[in-house]
């Protein structure tokens, strides 16, 4: 990792995406099945529910060199576990405040509701996120 060259010119953002098993993960799958072009920068970690995503994971991802973190869950009201995504919603909100205090642009953390049928949305969101991160540039953490 240390050898990774992070420069604006030759910058391919690294996105860690925590996707819920029932909606966004399947939506991503659909995007693939439907041959939609989505960002190759995304590195997916499947969780059963977006509610499983511990802020620790997000910090860890940034620490490990991610330029952006995306959390994808079912739409509010459609959670497979009925209300897991409400907790995600609050956690992300809280975490964004913390990230700002940590001096990390909260835009680097993105929460998206993408249902299993929204392959197009998945493609669109990831592409957009990648573009946004490109503009933000690489995240270089101080030791």
């Amino acid at each position: 990792m240390e050898t990774q060259i992070k420069s604006k010119e030759n910058f391919n953002p690294r996105i860690v995406a925590f996707l819920c098993n029932w909606c966004t993960y399947t939506g991503a799958d659909l995007a693939g099945v439907a041959r939609m072009k989505s960002s190759p920068s995304v590195r997916v970690i499947r969780t059963m529910c977006s509610g499983r995503v511990d802020p620790t994971f997000v910090l860890k991802a940034f620490k490990m060199g991610a330029d952006g973190v995306m959390i994808g869950g079912c739409h509010i009201g459609d959670c497979h576990y009925s209300e897991g995504n409400f907790k995600t919603l609050r956690r992300v909100e809280f975490l964004k405040i913390m990230l700002k205090d940590f001096g990390i642009d909260p835009k680097r953390l993105r929460l998206e509701w993408i249902s299993a049928s929204e392959g197009d949305k998945y493609a669109h969101v990831t592409n957009e996120f990648e573009k946004e991160l490109r503009e933000l540039g690489p995240l270089v953490l101080q030791e």
């Binding site: 399947t26 799958d29 099945v33 970690i45 529910c49 490990m64 060199g65 459609d78 929204e118």
Partner: protein, 587 residues
Amino acid sequence: MIKLTIDGKQLEVFEDTSILKAAEKAGIWIPTMCHCDYIEPYGVCRLCSVEVVKGKRSRIVTACNYPVREGLTVRTNSERVKWIRKIIMELMLSRWPNVPAVKEMAEQLGISKPRFESKEKDEAEDACILCGMCVNVCNDLVGKGVLGFSKMGIEREVVLPYNERSEECIACGACAYVCPTKHIKVKSLEYERGAIQDWSLASKTAIYVPTMQAVPRVPTIDEASCINKQTGGCKACQTYCEPGAINYDMKDEEIEVEVGQILITTGYQLMDLTKMPQFGYGRLDNVYSSLDFEHMLNSTGPTNGTIQCKDGSVPRAVGIIHCIGSRDENYHKYCSRVCCMYALKFAHLIKDRTTAEVYQFYIDMRAFGKGYEEFYKRLLDEGVNMIRGKVGEVTECRVDGEKPFLKVACEDTLIGKFREIPLDMVILCPAIESNADSSDLKKIFSISQSPDKFFLERHPKLDPMSTMTDGIFIAGCAQGPKDIPDSVAQASGAAAKILSLISVGEVAVDPIKAEIVEERCSGCRICNNLCPYGAISYIDEKKISFINDMLCKGCGTCVAACPSSVITGKGFTDAQIMAEIEGLLAI
């Protein structure tokens, strides 16, 4: 049972039977003008007056409501009785000389001309004779009490409250039904406003056999139109059903069945055609939906299978318009898949049963199934006019002296011209839609919907009948528009999937569960109200929280929330996910 004598005839009847009923049993006719079997005797026409003899004394009573007693002697045809009836009929006849029911009764009693001249004479044929049957039916049988009498004495009349249209009236029509003079008429305000077509394809009584093909083929009560279900009254059918088969207490009941797997085959609904007013459905006569037309074609349908216009005439030309709401950016982008073929079938049957010209207005013909293309070819040979182009609107044209016809305006893309085609009948092919309540169903089963609102399969190619939720399967139009063979195939496939699980007898449960390391839980209770399944409970004695792993579905929300990391999520432990993060970002 008691014994009595009527006009010398000995008979036995139950105590408290009315003289009228007893006489009926004995085959003796007693005239009545205010009596009907549905309601309690009202006893106001007094025509049924009979003489009851007790020893030397006799008295006049009304047969309709006089309960018989042991040893009663009744004379129904004595001079005194005849004299009373005669004067009553004279009184009635003098007031309502032209009402058929009165005239007939007078004739039966041998009275031709009354000796009285009534100052209140009403010469209408449908005059109200104040028998009160309507009022009593409404009050006692229907239980609504909408009708009533107003004024006293000779000015008495039947009225609605304040002589205005009553909001209480349920328009059951019982009053009009019992009215002996047809004084009461039921009219549909909807029809007057022109909001509904008067040729109803679904007229039925409150008791009906669902369909001729119903199994079991027995009558059922339509709760929406049954008076008893609305007001608790009526029960007329119970009075007449000799085997006593009618039971109002039977209710639709909710039965809970425990099952391991569910196949959702809730089908579809047709698009509401009134959303597209340019086609005139519900507004113009002789514009039908495909389902209406199918009903007309049915040999047990309203026209016994003949194809006819509203006025009963055979149509000269029929147009079938495809893709109403399907393949339409404004409504549904998808193809409803079945319309092309049933439209061809309609064309074939119209050709077969009538001499009408048939026009098909289509965008693309999609004869994709086995044998379908051949059928299409055959139709072309039968001389069906195929017009490729979208229809703009359907309008009604009236030419003096001729019956009105419909005009379809469309662009014929094959010849590149705008055309207007006169037709007698138009059949619209509405889009197949996901049911209006499918989002509720979706939530109940924790499954997903595609953007087109049909239920989403687990995988469009590899697993088209499973859903993301284990044990929940889908088939048929609930999953997407399809024709019967496709539906059957998919349903069979789903059934096979279900059976394969049943035959195993055991289901492997996902091991993904959360677990509390009991020794390390401090009982902070942060996790306690997080679980939507109530899997987490607090053990007071130990002052720790506990997860019931049978209830746990493994979402991991509590795992993330546990501030001391004593809840672990099997399969998705912190360590595993951390390792994933590290691994993913290693390069």
